[in-house]
């Protein structure tokens, strides 16, 4: 807690004192040799240190993809775990170069905080988790429930909206730390735990007895989770955004980390352009010609990242659903490289 106050105060103080121009993130990153990436303090499937203390997850893989595009080295990343209430201060103070931290893209954040969202890495929605023995099957039955929520999130606002709109009273119990929220729910302080549905699945996978808890089917909000960069540095914004597009385009073109070398010899002009065999699209980003090749080679395409971290064969067991490619009826779509 003290730490948090210190962090916020420091960020505020840095806002007071810092005179460094915010433009030129790419130069700064190249000069120091790594990307400083803001991630969650630990959400399975998105960003969590594994048994060997290496960060892993969907958000982490995005950071690795970005580092691959710049340095051809997925490990040229340093991670800063941030609470939801610290994240934007850490961004504006320049403590991190980018935020890949299950952050919901909203209008006020996009327009008022001096941030830009690069593209939706994960289409999510807010859900509810309850104990199985409570017999609850729909959020409409939650009248009077105590609800555990993390502070400073869209979750907090959505819950207020939802319960007011449905004329239900509820009792919000909010904590700064996500771990505290989950612990309070497990200790029985709350009847309900609410956050993004993916986050519920992630937390449940860590419970001693996941089958004792159910995630209700109903989703009450749109939560497009997107990486964030500072506003006013278009070069860096373009790199971050096209890293995401490269991941999606690679999947659409059937390029995987396994076949990417083979694909270099492909006749498909789209594949040639993406992998830098034809034309030089990296130059306009300030990167090398084979930037996208490096991404796919080191990290894989969007589908690989999804399946590896949150897909059906992981503890989270999420279906692609709306996160499938547009060609498969999903929402993941990227503009063409030409």
């Amino acid at each position: 807690m003290k730490n948090k106050i210190v962090t916020i105060a420091l960020s505020a103080a840095m806002g007071l004192m810092a005179t460094t121009a915010m433009a030129g993130t790419l130069e700064d990153v190249v000069a120091k040799g790594y990307v400083q990436c803001g991630v969650t303090t630990g959400v399975a499937g998105f960003a969590l240190p594994d048994a060997d203390n290496n960060w892993a997850g969907l958000d982490v893989d995005y950071c690795k993809a970005l580092a691959s595009a710049i340095f051809n080295d997925p490990d040229a990343v340093r991670y800063t775990p941030l609470n939801s209430s610290e994240r934007f201060a850490a961004m504006s103070s320049g403590e991190v170069d980018l935020l890949s931290r299950v952050t919901t893209w909203t209008m006020s954040r996009d327009t008022q905080l001096g941030m830009n969202f690069t593209g939706t890495m994960f289409y999510d929605g807010q859900g509810f988790m309850v104990r199985k023995d409570s017999g609850i099957t729909s959020p409409a039955e939650l009248s009077g429930a105590a609800v555990c929520i993390q502070t400073g999130t869209t979750t907090e606002l959505n819950a207020a909206d939802y319960f007011a709109a449905n004329n239900l009273d509820y009792n919000p119990v909010v904590f700064v730390d996500r771990d505290e929220v989950v612990k309070a729910y497990q200790d029985g302080r709350c009847d309900v735990y609410t956050t993004d549905a993916s986050g519920l699945a992630a937390n449940r996978s860590g419970f001693a007895d996941p089958s004792a808890h159910v995630i209700l089917d109903e989703i009450i909000s749109k939560e497009p989770l997107a990486p964030v960069v500072r506003q006013g540095d278009d070069t860096w914004f373009n790199i971050a955004r096209w890293t995401y597009f490269a991941l999606v385009n690679a999947e659409e073109l059937g390029i995987t980390s396994a076949n990417v070398d083979e694909m270099l010899g492909s006749d498909n002009p789209s594949v040639k352009r993406l992998l830098g065999v034809e034309g030089d699209f990296g130059a306009s980003l300030g990167l090398s010609k084979d930037w996208a090749y490096q991404i796919v080679k080191n990290v894989g395409n969007y589908g690989e990242i999804f399946e590896r971290n949150v897909g059906v064969n992981t503890p989270l067991g999420l279906e692609r659903g709306v996160n499938a490619l547009w060609t498969n009826g999903g929402l993941q779509y990227a503009p063409p490289i030409r």
Binding site: T151, E156, L157
Partner: protein, 396 residues
């Protein structure tokens, strides 16, 4: 003659540049200029940097709807309330915890401090063990500990402890019946007010009587009796109208009545336990600082133990106790900002966490929050300094 003496008192006049008065004014002006320049640079730099970060700035967010909910408020609040109302809610919650904490920590601290000096070996040692354990463990850990205790040791909603059909304790908090006073109940408030005046009158009369006759009158117990009995009698005469809304188990939770959430209980409990240890030490040192001769003098006058403490020792000890006691009051108020860690909606949690995040006005909000704590502390200090001046040694 007179002229000559005056000349003797005059110091030789130094040159303008060597005049210590002028030099001191000059240095003070330089220091002031440096401070003003520093503040100016910081302020303009902040404004410029915030603009460069494309951030919205200003205090206009106060008038925008907050659109979040708070589970423990002293004033009505819901998602349509404004941010300034959220600010007030947070501030009142901080004040509530601080005031309750200060009152109980002072009472317990005095008892414990006196207990440490007790001739009873067990009591003195128990008090010592308490003080040494509590004040050597970080407060944040203690708060987490108490919060965990509240959540783990208390039963769930379905197995709540229930007493007298209206007092309910479970891991969600402590619920108790809410009095629903109707109009006739105003008479009881008036009666209580009259009883307060009566108690003061009684004190005045008892003092006069003591001075005239030397007979003592038990003012304290008589006043307590008056304060309780008179309103009760009025209440009975007015028809004994007072309905209570008792908490009842409905669905998930107890509804109705008043509820103190577990976060509040854990925070208040933790702060009191912690601060009590420090106040006990301050009280002990204050008492020890009173010369032993005072005790002996009081004994030789034939004062009873309680009177000796109350009339001779404590008033003198107070002069030593009050200044550090003030610091403890300030510490308790500031420590209450740890509330956010255990989910109690105090000023830091509601304003510096939630509001800051939803509006993104970090500089403004951190500044206001600091100003609030500063103001609270200064007010406490002013009051305690006034009180200190009142009890300070009057030199005769």
């Amino acid at each position: 003659m007179a002229d000559l003496r005056n000349n003797h008192n005059l110091a030789p006049k130094p040159s303008f540049f060597n005049d210590p008065k002028i030099r001191s004014i000059f240095y003070q002006l330089v220091v002031m200029a440096v401070i003003i320049a520093f503040v100016y640079v910081v302020a303009t730099n902040t404004a410029a940097n915030l603009a460069a970060q494309n951030k919205s700035t200003g205090f206009d967010f106060f008038l925008q709807p907050a659109s979040f909910d708070i589970n423990f408020t002293l004033i009505p609040f819901d998602r349509t309330s404004y941010y300034w109302e959220a600010f007030v809610v947070g501030m009142l919650n901080t004040l509530l915890v601080s005031v309750i904490g200060v009152i109980f920590a002072t009472l317990l601290g005095f008892m414990l401090g006196i207990a440490r000096l007790s001739n009873n070996w067990i009591i003195a040692k128990l008090a010592m063990v308490y003080v040494e354990i509590i004040r050597n463990i970080p407060l944040l850990l203690q708060l987490f500990f108490w919060y965990t205790v509240v959540l783990k040791a208390m039963p769930g909603v379905k197995n709540s402890f229930e007493w007298f059909g209206g007092f309910v304790l479970n891991n969600r908090g402590f619920s108790f019946p809410k009095p629903m006073p109707d109009e006739t109940f105003n008479l009881v408030f008036i009666a209580f007010f009259i009883a307060v005046i009566g108690a003061f009158a009684l004190k005045y009369w008892a003092r006069k009587r003591l001075e005239q006759t030397g007979n003592r009158f038990p003012v304290f117990w008589a006043s307590i009796g008056l304060l309780i009995a008179f309103p009760v009698v009025v209440w009975l005469i007015s028809g004994a109208n007072l309905a209570f809304e008792t908490p009842e188990l409905k669905g998930f939770n107890y509804k109705g009545g008043l509820t103190l959430p577990s976060e509040f209980l854990a925070l208040v409990f933790g702060l009191i336990i912690y601060t009590t240890a420090f106040i006990a030490e301050i009280v002990r040192s204050g008492i020890v600082a009173v010369d032993k001769g005072q005790t002996e003098a009081a004994q030789s006058l034939g004062l009873k133990d309680g009177d000796r403490l109350r009339l001779v020792i404590i008033p003198q000890a107070m002069r030593v106790i009050i200044p550090p006691l003030t610091s403890q009051f300030l510490n308790l108020t500031k420590n209450s900002s740890l509330a956010a860690a255990i989910g109690y909606p105090d000023l830091v949690s509601v304003f510096m966490q939630t509001t800051l995040n939803q509006t993104g006005r970090a500089v403004e909000i951190v500044f206001i929050t600091m100003m609030v704590y500063l103001t609270l502390s200064l007010i406490t200090s002013v009051f305690m300094n006034w009180y200190n001046a009142r009890v300070a040694m009057v030199e005769r």
